[in-house]
């Protein structure tokens, strides 16, 4: 080293280089997290869709299953925690917190009764957790 100015130049160059590498790494980490979160959100949406599918099955004779004040109310025990295992050897597990409710929509129509079903699913496998809300309108012809 001829003088201390070389040391200062080198130090400055290393600091700048460190900042660049740290920022690029952060960017890549963020991309990876986004990809993983999108996969988790995908599965969370599917769980909410599964609940809606069960509502689709409710027949006209079983309309009380959507009445929150009736003993047959299908969402009486909600929210529930559901563990789902998957993979070739069931090596993975997802934990979902599923909440759902239904609400009668009073339209004053004597021929049709409609219920608004709201499904909320939270997957806490990632931090912050992913949350999905789906709304489904179920109609019964009288």
């Amino acid at each position: 080293m001829n003088d201390y100015s070389d040391v200062l130049y080198l130090t400055a160059a290393m600091v700048i280089y460190s900042f660049l590498t740290i920022n690029t790494s952060r960017s890549f980490l963020s991309t990876s997290e986004t990809v993983i979160r999108s996969d988790v959100e995908y599965r969370t949406i599917i769980r909410a869709q599964d609940v809606i599918e069960q509502v689709k099955l409710v027949q006209r004779a079983d309309e009380n299953m959507l009445n929150p004040n009736h003993i047959d109310y299908m969402f009486a025990g909600y929210p529930i925690t559901d563990n789902e295992t998957y993979g070739y050897n069931d090596e993975y597990t997802d934990t979902f917190i599923i909440d759902a409710s239904s609400e009668y929509i009073d339209e004053g129509d004597p021929l049709v009764r409609r219920y608004k079903v709201t499904v909320n699913v939270i997957n806490e496998e990632v931090d912050p957790s992913t949350e999905v809300d789906l709304i489904f309108i179920k109609s019964f012809e009288r």
Partner: protein, 196 residues
């Protein structure tokens, strides 16, 4: 040796090592991200077709004979898959996972999933075959109460599980273990045409 020159070599060497390690890390990260996006897209393609098919089981055909075969690795059903496709007849569709390894990818775990579609089932030669590479494909069936159906006519809900892996490994470890990105889809679908 000149002390200044030696110091320069040491610092330069450390910088070079640091750049090489950084470059290696960036390369791996890029490969992983690209693999994951391609794998998700691959799964999305299969799922789009599968959902369309499942929602049309029994469409224009009726409840009683919608399924021809229903097993955990394959199913065949009748239904009108596409409206206005120029065919008055129902379609016959089969989804089946084979034990055949997919040689079109370098992933040794990939199996061949076959979708066979025939718009005019009375003419078997009109069958069109689509092949997909998947890691796993499983099907479960349920009746209207969510129980295992006694007979095929009782099937109302179909649960399908698809697991796909990337075609290429995103990382090869020192011991030779290759890691593949995985994407997964599992859904229980109530076929509208089987409810009533």
């Amino acid at each position: 040796m000149n002390l200044g020159l030696a110091t320069t070599y040491i610092i330069g060497g450390l910088m070079l090592l640091s750049i090489l390690a950084y470059n290696y890390s960036l390369f791996n990260s890029t490969v992983e991200t690209t693999s994951s996006v391609i794998t998700q897209s691959k799964l999305d393609n299969i799922v789009s077709i599968l959902q369309n098919d499942l929602n049309r089981i029994g469409y224009d055909r009726g409840i009683s004979d919608a399924f021809v075969m229903a097993e955990d690795s394959a199913f065949i059903f009748r239904g009108n898959i596409f409206d206005n496709d120029g065919s008055d007849d129902f379609d016959l569709v089969e989804w089946a996972i084979t034990s055949e390894l997919d040689t079109t990818t370098t992933n040794p775990n990939d199996l061949v999933l076959i979708r066979t579609w025939n718009q005019t089932p009375s003419i078997p030669a009109n069958e069109i075959e689509f092949r997909y590479s998947v890691r796993d494909f499983e099907v479960n069936y349920y009746d209207i109460d969510g129980n295992v159906p006694v007979q095929m006519e009782d099937i109302v809900q179909v649960e399908v599980e698809v697991l796909v892996e990337s075609d290429e490994p995103y990382l090869t470890k020192k011991d030779g273990t290759q890691l593949y990105y995985r994407s997964y889809w599992k859904r229980r679908i109530v076929a509208n045409n089987l409810i009533y």
